[in-house]
Structure formats: C-alpha cells, structure tokens
Symmetry: C2
Subunit: 501 residues, 2 copies
C-alpha cells in the first residue's frame, strides 16, 4: 500500500468539540461574534479555546502555537483559527507554515465569490473554488547557493502529492455539486514536473466521467481568471501557481474581507479567514466577522454538519442583501445601515432559517458530509517503474581560463573515462560545449553531462561509478558542487535535454 | 571583468537594414501593412526578408529558422518577426525559445496600455511596462525524475542574470521618462533565490535615486495588477512570475491584439506582436496589424530612430481615436468605419505627422536612443565570496522498512563517520528524522543532511570527502540519486534549513 492512501481516513464525523484560537488584533471580537452565530445554529457543538499567536509567542513558543493547541488538534482533528500577527525577526516562525507542515495540510481551499452589487467587485458574477497544493513545488524550502554567482531552489513534484490534491479536487466537486474541474500547469515548459501534475490530473479525471475537466496553461489561465472568471468552477493547481491565482481571484471578486479558507490534511483540517489581524481597528467593534464566519461554514460542511452550515450561510446572505453592512463594505446608496461587529452578528443570528431573496440561496447537501473522510477509494494501483542509471549531471563551480567552455570540455574529456563519455556542458541550461555560441552568458556554474558507456550490471556497480568520477574530478582540481543522476524509467528518459542537445 | 559586462555593447545605431520575417498565417499581410507605414515614416530604412516559420520547418530546419535569418541577425543585430505556427510533434522546436537561448535575449518587454473607450478594457486607465527576465528560473529547462515518485525541476537565479535585467529595467525607465520601477518576487518563501533578486534590485535601485522603487510579493502584486494597475509604471520580475504577470496585465488592458513586445539581448534584439498567427482569418485582409506595428515602433525607438517612432505611434493613435477599426475591435457606437488590413495601414500612413486629440500623444525623446548600447556603466565591482564546504545533502531513493525514517536514520548514523555527522532527514522538505511527525507524507525520496565534523583544510580534501561518503552509502546498499554540497559564503550559511531544524 502506498503511503498516499493514509491521507484518507474517517475521523472527523465524531468531532463535537471544536478547538478555537481567537488570534490577535481583531481576532477575539470576530471570533466571539462568529461563535455566537454558530452556537445559535448548532447548539450541540462545544468550543474549546486554545492558545495561538502573540500569547503563545510571548510564552516562548517560537511557532506561536501552545501545547494545548497541539493536544486539542490531536484529539479533535480540527481547528477554527483567528488572524495571527507574527512578530518580526528573532527567529519567530509562522503559525500557518508550522501547522501546514506539521499536520500535513496538503490542500488549501479558497472559494472566491462575488456579491455584487452589495459588495463592489471588478467581476460581478464569480463563484470559483481554487484548490491549491500546499506542500510541494518550490515552497518545499530547499535552497542552496552553489557558487559565488549561482543560487538554486528545488521544485519538487511527487506522484502521491499530485494524486491526493487532484483526487481531493474531484471529490470536492462531486460532493459540492460542482460540474467542472480545471487543472492549470506550465507543462509546455516544465514537461517533466508539471507534465506529471497534468498526467495525474488526466488519469484521475477519467474516474469522474460526470465531471467536466480541462487543462489550461497557468499564464493565460490566470489572465482569464481576471477577465472571465465565469469560465471556471473548481480549479486545481500546484503550490506557487495557486498562491498567485487565488490572490488574483479574490481580488477581482472584490471580497477579500469576506473570504474564508480551509487547509485540509489527511486526518485534520484548519479553517481561517483570508484577511489579517488589522490591529489598527482592534477592540472598536467595527471589524467585519464575515471572513471567519464563512470559514466556520466551510468547517461545518467539512464536518458533515450540513444543516447548520446551510442555515448560517443563507442568514449571512440575507444580512448582506438587506444592506446591513460593517464599515469596510458600507457604501451610500447600496447599504442601508452601518453596523458594528456585534450588531452584524446579531442580525445574522436573527435571520437563521431565512433564505436570501436576491442572492442565490446556498444548500450544503446531506451527502456532502466528510468528502475526504468518506473517501475509501484506494490509492491507484501502481507498479513502480524500473529505474536504470544512464549517467550523471555534475555541476562544477569553475572560474578559470576566461570561462572558456572549450577549455573545460578538454579537461573533462580526459576525466570522463573509462566509464563515462562527456555528452555536453551547459550554462544556465544553454549548451556551451561542444559547439557553443559566444553570445551565451557564462556564469561560474557549469552543468556537465556524463553518459555511461555501458549500463551497470547492478545497483552497486552503478552506485560506485559516480563517486569514482567525482574522485577523478577532484584529482583534476575541479570543484563539483552538486550531482543529479540520470535515469530511464521503464525505458523512458527521466531527464530533460538541453537546448541544442 | 565579469562576463555580465559583455551584455552592453554599442552596436545597433549603425543598423539601417532591418531583417524582417513575415511568418505564418496572417503574418505576410500584416507585415506588408506595417512595412508600408514604416517606409513612409523612415524612408532611409531598407528591409531584408528572411525565412522563419513554416517555410523553414518545411525546408528541414527543426527550429523553424533559416540560415539566411541567422546570417542577417549576425550582420544587422535586429529582427522584426511576424507570428509563427510551430508544427505539433515530430521534434520541431519553438522559434522563440531557440532565438532567445541562442541569441541570449535576456529581457522580455511587454508594454500593456489601455485605449479605453476605443478598445474595451477591464482596466480603462493603464500604462505599464513589464520587464521579464527571459533565461533563468525554472525555465532553464533542467528537470530530473529521481525516483518512482519524485520529479524535480531546478530553479536557477544568478547574480549576473539579476544584475543585467534589473539594470536594464532602470535604464529603460530613465530613457523613457518613467518614474517608478517595482520589483516582484516571492522572497518571503524563497529567501535564497528570490532573496538574491530582491537584494540586487535594492543595490541597483540605489544608483538611480531619481527613480522611485519598491518591492511587492508576486501574489498580491499580480492581484493588484488586475485590480489597480495605475499603481504600477515599470515592473521587473523573474521569468515565471513575469510570464503570468504579463498575461494578466495584457488581458485587463484589453489590448492583447494591439500589443507589441521586444526580446532584448546584449548585442541583438527581436521585436514581435504578442498575438498568434490566426490561420483562420489569413489572406482575407481583415487582420489587425496594430500589434506588429507597435512592435516596429518599439524597434525604431530601440534603434534610436525616435522621430519616425514618435510619428508612427501618434498616427496610429489618431486612427484609433477616429474610430477606423479593424473587425477585431470594431464596436457599434464607438467605431466609425470598419476597415480592412490595407485600408487601416493607409489610414495610419495618411496621418503621419498628426497628433491624437483625445488619447495622449507619445514622444520618444531624442536621448532615448539605444538605452542599452549607450550604457557604459561598468558591471558592479564584486569580490567573489569565500566559499567554505560545511557538508552535503545526499538525496536517497529508499523504499524499505515501510519507509520508517528511524530505520533509515539508524543506517546513516553508521555510514556518516568519520568525516560527517548526520544532521537530519527530510521528505519533501519536512523534517522526519530525528523526532519526525507520523503525519508527514513519506515519498520514496529522502534528503539526508550530513555536516562535516571539521572544515576541510583545502579544496582537494573537501572534494574527496563527499565521494568517499557516497562510496560508503553504496557499500550499505543505499541508492544516492543526487547531492547538493552545503557551503558558507563569507561565513554566511548558503543553504536553507528545514522546517523543524
């Protein structure tokens, strides 16, 4: 069994106690407002206040998360979190990054909805959910400076990582009655990494024939999100792309202050507003609790408590369309009454059971409960590919001979044997030996591709050829700073060729 | 002298013959239209037709570029290019990628301008130039599949690469009378690579005190480009970010069909429209030549021919504001006459010497000639940092013992000595040894950090410790698929720490 299948375990339906962390700035007052509404709609829930944010930082927790919080999450598998202020400098770590990495929260969900004309929006008709992979990509945080001039970050994309985010997207679409999932990558350039994401998307889409699926290149996809968001329903994409895309979508929906989000893991989940802690308006009873309220609705739906989720969402829409608006969205001519945080929350509570008249009402279906936890589809059967070593890319830090690649090539020809032949040298991915172009910028960082003259008979034989090559390079006074082995997988080349190769 | 300084050589002022490649689809007719206008405005120019696109592909040139084209670029250092159709499959290569890599075209320029109400735009007031680094980042095309499950792409950011794109952006702003340059990165996550881009931006910005400068995180920066583009003037950013950002900017400007672009190298440059070859409307005299015309204006300005550049640009604006529109932008109530390609070009030619009345007129200043070629500022003096080897990250493909990191850690402890100590093991950047979290997804790809117990006395001693470690790993039956050496530079750590390290 692949480890990926451990991502889906039933756990959350039992939760009746919700750990809540009020957070900093406006956090306590919006949390109080939200919990008042939730209690009224779902009286059997209880809430357990835990310590996250400044109080935890001040108590010496460098990641801003109290021990009580970890214990509560371990027990209840969910947390509703207010906005956090991370102190600058001094080694303090982000609460969100720490929770995401520690809890394996692999999916970030951002519904982006317009409420025009009640809330001004560049795109008045918009109802998109962006599902962003949350752990991989260049955000895995693996960076190395390799020479005086050259710095590197690894972009990692894995099959199990792709499988679970893509499957989550289709399961989400199915349980929330959404008809289309769009995948966005840049696989016309990154054929191996983004190519994998796209391929896994196609494989899993085939299991959901009732849901439309398509793929777009991320550049034009993001542009269309800004100009024609009604083309989209659910979008699934890699970490960096999703980061940019979800900010664009929220911005043109005009509703960043009203937006909720969730971070979903295999056996726990975290829900929070998109906005920050706004310390400048804290304690004045003027903050808009809507973002956190929408997050709480997402949490209830995730927990299978679809009836209170539906009631709260519709009561909130009623309040919006009646023009009872907090100061951040109040506009003369559209709004009817400027209300504070508490009054807004009381207005929502008073409308529980009502449906909006102008904005479309929302229904969370009873079968929408626990989309992840209910998922008992086993991880795709998969026979590991046969991996064969065919060579190695050795990266040299070299700054001699006016950086003439022909000089370097000459040295390497003699070092390559007897196991390898020198195939080519590139600088920043552009071939500069043999037959380089004098226009190519030459940094002090050279990728030298050595191909094995005959395939190794076993793993051990292959494993020693590369260190032996590195020892010969050291003897020649050359400075190898990194290596990347070259493999075929089931006979298919597992590495990109250089421009001009 | 650093190789970066070879980026700026005076060469283009002498050009009086312009190689032009009509390209495919609508290419020939829009090129004919554009050259008619340019000849009328700048009679001393001559044009040399060269072969790019389908004709070259059909002649067996896999990159779609004829030998005559390479020769003409070598002689005249510039090319005006029509849109190209790349045949699918069969090993054909993109003309643009090939030219960019072969000619070292490091800067991609995309002016994004709104012409509202004459051309409908989501953002009616917009005049932004996006300057995108064109060679580095994940687009260097260096990808490796490293195990059954894990695929990798290298993101490379170099100091000379950053220096020349950032300097180009400030030189462009200075010579074109633009007052502000905004840098966008994601250096809150990628502190080493994007951190370098941001740092170089700050260093070079200090040399241009008369130009405002600021930095934004790319996610919110792209969102603001969609919602408040008047916040921006010139934007400079890395390759991938620029790819997405420039598509968003062009889309909200509503003028993709009118947009030109340039690709600038150290000693040559290529100019082309942003749109494609539109084969469905080819040969019908209905295509809009504006994108290629704007590109030709950018070329004339780049060549220092500022007077004809100004004349053509203003004549084109006159034609737009008088409502003589091709079918793609024709709208009842705004447009006055629907015109074909030829008639539109004749209308622009007839207005040479006129200035627009409603749209602001453009002036290319006489001192705007050859911004790059005039640049005799030497490359920044730079003493290479002292690099000291402190350890190595070895990446293992390991799928034994239920992927229990404690089992792997136990094996590695015995292999590390005598030179190294095992510092930690991560999976996708998350620490899983020592003291891992059972929730962490475990792929078959493990990064194992070994730190040297004492610094090497010389390069040779350091160079042999790593192959010796690899040989011990091979003896233990472990499969090392890549290495990344760990260095300090002038005593500063040159690698990221893992979450939890």
């Amino acid at each position: 069994m692949s480890p990926a299948s451990s991502a889906f375990v039933p756990a959350l339906l039992a939760a009746r106690v919700i750990p809540v962390a009020a957070g900093d700035g406006i956090g306590p007052e919006i949390m109080e407002a939200v919990l008042g509404i939730v209690k009224a709609a779902d009286p059997s829930l209880r809430f357990h206040q835990v310590t996250v944010g400044l109080k935890a930082y001040e108590a010496g927790q460098m990641a801003g998360i109290g021990e009580d919080t970890w214990e509560a999450i371990d027990e209840h598998r969910v947390i509703l979190k207010g906005p956090i202020m991370t102190p600058q400098g001094g080694g303090y770590k982000s609460v969100n990054v720490t929770m995401r990495k520690t809890l394996g929260l692999y999916a970030n969900l951002r519904p982006c909805v317009s409420y025009h004309p009640w809330v001004t929006a560049l795109q008045p008709k918009m109802d998109v959910v962006i599902i962003r992979e949350n752990e991989e990509d260049t955000y895995a945080g693996i960076e190395h400076r390799q020479s005086d001039e050259v710095y590197q970050c690894l972009k990692l994309i894995t099959r199990p990582g792709c499988e679970r985010i893509v499957r989550y997207a289709f399961e989400y679409a199915r349980t929330h009655g959404r008809g289309k999932v769009t995948c966005m990558t840049k696989d016309n350039i990154m054929k191996i990494t983004d190519g994998l994401f796209h391929q896994v998307f196609d494989e899993i889409a085939a299991e959901y024939p009732e849901i439309q699926s398509n793929h777009m290149i991320i550049d034009i996809g993001t542009a269309r999100m800004a100009s024609r968001p009604t083309d989209f329903d659910v979008v699934v994409t890699a970490n960096l792309y999703g980061d940019i895309l979800s900010d664009v979508a929220a911005e043109v929906a005009g509703s960043v202050g009203l937006a909720g989000s969730s971070n979903i893991g295999g056996d726990c989940a975290m829900f929070e507003a998109v906005h920050g802690s706004a310390p400048d308006i804290a304690g004045q009873d003027i903050a808009n609790p809507s973002g956190l309220l929408v997050s709480a609705v997402m949490m209830l739906a995730h927990l299978g408590r679809t009836e209170p989720a539906t009631d709260i969402h519709n009561a909130w829409l009623c309040t919006l369309e009646e023009g009872l608006h907090t100061a951040d969205i109040y506009r003369d001519g559209i709004s009817t009454t400027r209300v504070g945080t508490r009054t807004f929350a009381e207005a929502v509570t008073a409308r529980l059971g009502q449906k909006p008249q102008k904005i479309a009402a929302v229904t969370y279906r009873a079968d929408a409960s626990e989309p992840v936890a209910h998922l008992d589809v086993p991880t795709r059967a998969h026979t590991p590919a046969v991996k064969t070593l065919v060579g190695v890319d050795v990266f040299l830090n070299w700054d001699d001979a006016d950086r003439d690649p022909d000089v370097l090539g000459g040295k390497l020809l003699t070092v390559a044997g007897p196991e390898f032949e020198l195939s080519l040298i590139t600088n920043r991915g552009v071939k500069c030996y043999p037959n380089g172009n004098p226009r190519t910028l030459r940094t002090d960082h050279w990728r030298c591709r050595f191909l094995l003259l005959k395939p190794p008979t076993d793993l051990r034989e292959g494993s020693v050829t590369i260190p032996n090559l590195l020892l010969r390079l050291a003897d020649a006074g050359l400075d190898a700073v990194k290596t990347e082995n070259l493999y075929t997988f089931d006979g298919v080349r597992g590495y990109s060729q250089a421009q001009g190769e």
